[in-house]
Symmetry: C2
Subunit: 377 residues, 2 copies
């Protein structure tokens, strides 16, 4: 999945150490594909997926809005050229002083999932629009959701009523079907819940306007995933099914789906060894691991494609591990990874589909290793 | 476990945001306790546990040696005042150019666990001493070891013979019983394996001199752990049992045991809420989580004590979670954490025993949150 531009960059620049290279052309294609697949939805890029300034500037210039998790991400989005009305503060867990700071910066759209958060926003960002996140089960997603975000639909009704009572604008409902979601019907189940909240509040004289359908749009790792077009079609049909002719405004928040396949990590094989003479499985140690940017291999959740200079040769199962002295720094062990038998210490490998959730996940200096470098081209 | 000096520092300085405060007096006490408990062992502090310059300088001045995982950690140890003969390059996974750089810096002691690594060291650090790490099962440890490091004892014999053949000095055997190891007999089992390697090589005319007994010495989290004295006694007895009157040189590599209980993280309650009206368990969200320095809560492995300003009040079980938009950023959910019912948004809490494996584990900027600040006093 490395583009020719990425391969050329690596061949010409030969950067030392592990690094991520992101191709902006792919980000642009992804943005346009989302726009085409869901022409009536506004796109709020999930900044946390990859906040590189070059990516934010490109998306801002294409007309994207931004879903942010912190004041720092709001500031980065503003710097990239987004106006405050194109930014939502999408984290349901905010310090009141951070809400106040966001309000100062012009932000007027906030996520909540409980009355306690509504009270903070009413004090620190009076009159703002709020949307309430509803719990989903996350079934079908590769990076599972816990119950951390959202509340049950009946509670969302109370939360948004309280928002109204405190002078805020109850604006809508959000959900998230789980990251790397490949089950198209997940959106249908969540939209049914959203419709319930709309209806219950309408009966109390409160008219919601927006459904924030979150992210979850997958990127291609080792398996094919449905196209943006297929997602768009499924979501549009589910919207029609539940909302009929009175379609709400909609928002989507792609992160992984916007940048995942735009990036490739270049890494080096540091060591290949066995634990005993009669082991079937070799251990292959790379110069990047769980603490250097590949945190999403936690519980072997995300399985990245790995390209080697010896692809095509006979393969055998390997345990793939990182370079730190931490025994938890193992990428794939329960399900060993097939790699060429001819793979050699010093070989460069490409870990593909790593444009999202890698650079900022990297640890500051664990074991003395520098954080993942990134080049956006 | 917060010392008066830490409490005074927090009360006087009132640092903004989550931060770690480390009390050097506790580090000094820990060093002296290890020295007293194992008077015949050399102490190699595991720099990766906390590489703060103040800690390294203190330990260097006390006479400590240093176990390092990378060239950067070697350089930090040298800067802190350690001479190269007091530094081991203890990572079994090293790039050949990093071995060469370490050799240039004067390092002559290297860890290996396979012939492939021995070959690199023979080329890049000719004549150096090497010790071979032997696999242990890690039973009894709270932070489990995978099979990532070490090889079976019979293979260690071959590895050290190959070292000899390539002009290196086969110096000894190392093992690691698993971090936060509270089962004293774990050292006995590992020393038995070490003895096997000594014996097998002696029969081939190679005389090893050193056993590196690694780390694993626990710090007190929620449960009492054996004292350094008890560890010293158990280890000395196991050494006598397996090596009789010909005791080898020994090395220990405490990391967590040296700095864990010296540090406390100050954090703030950002939100307390429920997911539905009839939930028993409240969600308590802090301004630090898995990506901000508490990575060792992975799989709820390490359970830190949390002190609140309302301790003594009635408690109820809570899910404890971090502030990021990542649903994996939950600290304790499977086993909820009892916290005062009176706990309130804005309360400051102290997460104790966090001197080790926190600051450098913190992510660079995940969700736009800054890495964990640290004050060493």
């Amino acid at each position: 999945m490395a583009t020719q531009r990425i391969l050329d960059f690596l061949a010409t620049r030969r950067p030392e150490g592990p690094c991520l290279v992101v191709d902006l052309d792919v980000v642009r294609e992804n943005y346009l594909a989302f726009e085409k697949a869901l022409p009536d939805s506004r796109i709020f890029y999930a900044v946390k997926a990859n906040p590189a300034p070059e990516i934010l500037r490109l998306l801002a210039s294409l007309g994207s809005c931004f879903d942010t998790a912190s004041v720092a991400e709001i500031e980065m989005s503003l710097e990239a050229g987004a106006t405050p009305d194109r930014i939502s503060y999408g984290n349901t867990i905010k310090k009141e002083r951070d809400i106040a700071r966001a309000f100062e910066l012009g932000i007027r759209l906030f996520a909540v999932d409980c009355v306690e958060e509504v009270e903070k926003i009413a004090r620190a960002a009076p009159g703002s629009k709020v949307f309430c996140r509803v719990l989903t089960d996350g079934a079908g997603a590769e990076w599972p959701l816990s119950r951390k975000f959202g509340c049950v639909p009946t509670m969302a009704v109370d939360v948004l009523r309280q928002a109204k009572a405190l002078g805020l604008a109850p604006y809508g409902v959000s959900f998230h079907v789980g990251s790397q979601q490949t089950d198209l019907s997940a959106w249908d189940r969540a939209l049914k819940d959203a419709r319930f909240v709309f209806q219950a509040l309408a009966e109390k004289g409160i008219s919601l306007r927006m459904v924030n359908m979150g992210g979850g749009f997958p990127t291609r790792y080792l398996r094919d995933v449905p196209t943006a077009q297929a997602y768009g079609q499924a979501i549009f049909e589910a919207l029609k099914r539940h909302f009929g002719n009175r379609l709400p405004e909609t928002i989507i928040e792609p992160g992984r789906g916007m940048v995942g396949n735009a990036g490739v990590i270049k890494s080096e094989v540091v060591l290949i060894s066995k634990k005993s003479e009669d082991d079937d499985v070799r251990w292959v140690y790379l110069d990047i691991g769980k603490f250097g940017g590949l945190a999403e291999t936690m519980d072997e959740a995300i399985r990245y494609p790995v390209a080697t200079p010896r692809d095509g040769d006979e393969t055998a199962p390997c345990v793939l591990a990182g370079p730190t002295c931490d025994s938890a720094d193992v990428l794939y062990e329960k399900t060993p990874y097939p790699l060429p038998v001819s793979l050699t210490i010093g070989d460069e490998v490409l870990i593909e589909g790593t444009g999202a959730y890698t650079t900022t996940y990297a640890s500051v200096a664990f074991n003395g290793f520098a954080p993942l470098k990134a080049y956006v081209i």
